[in-house]
């Protein structure tokens, strides 16, 4: 196993190197204890698959997604324009991110403000690594395990990416089972639209509990997702249902990282 090396764009540029890919880590991936594990897993995969990549480190700032969904267009555009300045300064062409909110914002909302990049969600990127043979998966660890995939809204409905994460999961030789509402009809985890940062309005249930119940109905051993916020919401839901000893909530990057022949 290779030692994991993480470089920033500025380091590599100073050495005269141009990384092919920018790994956009995102705020959750940088600071949230749970999400950092996803970041590390994905960084490890990139290293082992010999992908030429770099991160922005302290030059990265929130894409502005939660501000925009909350209605603060000023703050969103300030974030967007300063990020675009950094990205264009490094002449970034291709971005991969483990957060569907960053993915959506960078891909769909930055172009109009002058930021044009080829943006991929990490599940799409993993799929291409697997298809190109740059990454192989033995699946041993998850063989026959029951996995259900939760579609993040900003990956699925927002950008019509439904198949890439499922195709990656198929490589695990696991038993995939779909929830009652999935793909176009997938129920939100409850975190989107800046809800992650506030209490829910009065109601008779928390959205993440409802979604967790739908996931648990498939009797899974693993609930897979591709979003740090969904991960938090579902992990909380599983704890609330006292199922944390039986059911794991894992990101697709973590599953591949554990299963790949690295």
């Amino acid at each position: 196993m290779k030692k994991i090396e993480i470089h920033t764009f500025s380091e590599l540029i100073a050495q005269g190197k141009t990384p092919e890919i920018l790994f956009w880590v995102g705020c959750a991936g940088s600071f949230d204890e749970r999400a950092k594990k996803i970041t590390k897993a994905f960084a490890n995969i990139l290293n082992q698959a010999n992908v030429s990549f770099a991160v922005l480190g302290s030059e990265e700032g929130c894409t502005g997604d939660p501000a925009k969904r909350a209605g603060n267009e000023f703050l969103f555009q300030m974030q967007a324009l300063s990020n675009i300045e950094v990205l264009n300064g490094y002449n970034v062409k291709k971005i991969v991110t483990t957060c569907p909110h960053c993915f959506n914002t960078l891909k769909n909302e930055y172009p109009e403000l002058g930021g044009n990049y080829d943006v991929m969600h990490h599940t799409q990127f993993l799929k291409s690594l697997l298809n190109e043979g740059r990454l192989t998966v033995s699946g041993g660890a998850f063989k026959g395990k029951r996995i259900t995939f939760h579609d993040p809204c900003y990956l699925g409905r927002a950008n019509n990416v439904y198949e890439a994460p499922r195709q990656v999961l198929e490589k695990l030789d696991a038993e995939l089972s779909e929830m009652k509402s999935c793909k176009q009809k997938g129920l939100c985890c409850g975190a989107g639209g800046a809800q992650m940062f506030k209490d829910a309005e009065p109601g008779d249930k928390e959205i993440n509990i409802k979604r967790t119940e739908e996931a648990l109905d498939t009797k899974p051993e693993i609930i897979a997702s591709g979003c740090p916020f969904c991960n938090t919401m579902l992990t909380d839901g599983v704890k609330n249902k006292k199922e944390e000893d039986n059911v794991q909530v894992l990101d697709i990057a973590e599953l591949i990282n554990q299963a790949s022949d690295l």
Partner: protein, 442 residues
């Protein structure tokens, strides 16, 4: 001798009905144009395809297979029976009877039998629809916003449609009976009546004259019913039978995750970030009255068209995660409120000689509460669920923009989140310089 009086009467009624209908259409057009301009003249080919697929082809109705197919039945019934309407109109103007029959020969028989089968299918479908609403009490038809007029409106439409179909069949049945039995009246032997033939025994004990009166009455009530229904549309959720077409044509073609970009904000932000720009020498930016939306005139014409197009089916609301978990938000209510407020503004304009007089009311607060707006997760389930391309989410976001940028009225936790982003580039209070700390934990 048949006097031409009925034809004159028919023509007058027809002209009046069309005149009144076009007045309503003009009003809808005017009201939609109270919205902010938004260019949707791009990608014509893709837009036509979208309209043909979603509105004409009903592609999204089939997401719920049983009701979807029944809806297709009613829709196709509506389209094909309108062909018969053409003949009825010509007969009405000219005092002819089944004027197309001699020209079409056996094809006429085929057409009439086709209409009859569809009329029967429509009746079956509508009985099913009515039962879903009133006996099975499907949850989404009984939400709060459906109380009162919306509930009655939905049922009225079903009653009118079933009555129209029954009148059509009665008219045909009586016609067939007269073709067979009333030699003196010279009823043209034309048409095939696979459904209404079963009504024949009902007429057997009646005099020729009575059946003639039944046939004429059914004919008149049928066409009067259709013309009244046409004029009822404006007051009803049923406008979707017309507006679904423009609505799907003009609907968003971008990824659902892409929210609109406020250009007025871009120029201000650029000015703020670029020290070399002298704000006083810069050309005066276009006057921006306000950021976001608090009333219908702050919405775009697309959003107002959406409101008129909504047929209150509630597929959006039943897919909404907030609504499913008992929150006050219902995307359908957002659309209904928008239309109700737009109608209120419209009446105000009519009353004040074409000029809106401030009435101290607005869409926000008087119709839509902050609580509803803040319950949205922006998950796009409502947008995905709408069978005719309505986007309630865009209205919610525009109203949040108003709350945040004009009123600074975000929930306190969101203000904390935004302050964090402003100060340290993340929604949580962590130092931007620590973003790469995870590297040391490898």
């Amino acid at each position: 001798m048949i006097s031409i009086l009925p034809n004159i009467l028919f023509t007058i009624i027809f002209i009046f009905a069309i005149f009144n209908f076009s007045k309503n259409v003009k009003k809808i057009y005017r009201n939609i144009n109270l919205g902010i301009k938004e260019d949707r003249s791009d990608n014509k080919k893709q837009r036509w395809t979208q309209m043909l697929r979603i509105a004409f082809g009903q592609s999204k109705m089939i997401d719920k297979p049983i009701v979807g197919i029944l809806h297709v039945v009613v829709y196709v019934g509506f389209l094909v029976i309108n062909i018969e309407l053409l003949e009825i109109l010509v007969d009405g103007f000219l005092g002819t009877h089944r004027v197309f029959a001699p020209f079409l020969g056996s094809f006429y028989d085929f057409l009439i039998s086709f209409f009859e089968y569809f009329a029967l299918l429509v009746i079956v479908a509508i009985i099913f629809f009515w039962s879903r609403r009133n006996i099975l009490k499907i949850n989404r038809f009984w939400k709060n916003e459906m109380k009162g007029w919306p509930k009655s409106d939905a049922n009225y439409i079903l009653y009118i449609e079933v009555i129209l179909m029954m009148l059509f069949l009665t008219m045909n049945g009586a016609d067939l009976w007269l073709q067979n039995n009333a030699n003196d009246l010279n009823y043209l032997k034309a048409g095939a009546f696979p459904v209404s033939q079963f009504l024949l025994p009902l007429f057997d004990n009646l005099s020729i004259n009575s059946v003639f009166i039944i046939e004429r009455t059914a004919w008149w009530l049928h066409i009067l019913g259709i013309l009244s229904f046409l004029n009822y549309l404006y007051y009803s959720k049923h406008l979707h039978i017309l507006l679904a077409f423009p609505n799907t044509y003009f609907a968003n073609l971008n990824s659902k995750g892409r929210f609109s970009n406020l250009k007025s904000v871009t120029s201000e932000v650029k000015m703020m970030m670029d020290p070399s720009i002298d704000p006083f020498s810069a050309p005066a930016a276009e006057e921006v009255s306000k950021f976001g939306a608090s009333d219908v005139s702050d919405l775009s014409w697309i959003q107002l068209l959406n409101a008129y197009t909504c047929t209150e089916c509630g597929r959006c609301t039943s897919e909404c995660p907030a609504n499913q978990t008992g929150k006050k938000l219902s995307p359908r209510k957002i659309m209904m409120d928008t239309r109700d407020r737009l109608e209120e503004v419209s009446r105000n304009i009519d009353k004040n000689n074409g000029e809106f007089k401030p009435d101290g009311k607005q869409l926000l607060d008087n119709y839509i509460s902050n609580e509803e707006l803040w319950a949205c997760t922006s998950c796009n389930a409502c947008v995905e669920a709408c069978p005719i391309g309505i986007d309630p989410l865009s209205i919610i976001i525009d109203m949040r923009r108003y709350l945040v940028m004009e009123k600074s009225a975000a929930p306190p936790e969101l203000n904390n989140m935004m302050t964090n982003i402003e100060n340290n580039g993340a929604p949580w209070p962590f130092n931007q310089m620590d973003r790469l700390n995870w590297k040391n934990e490898l």
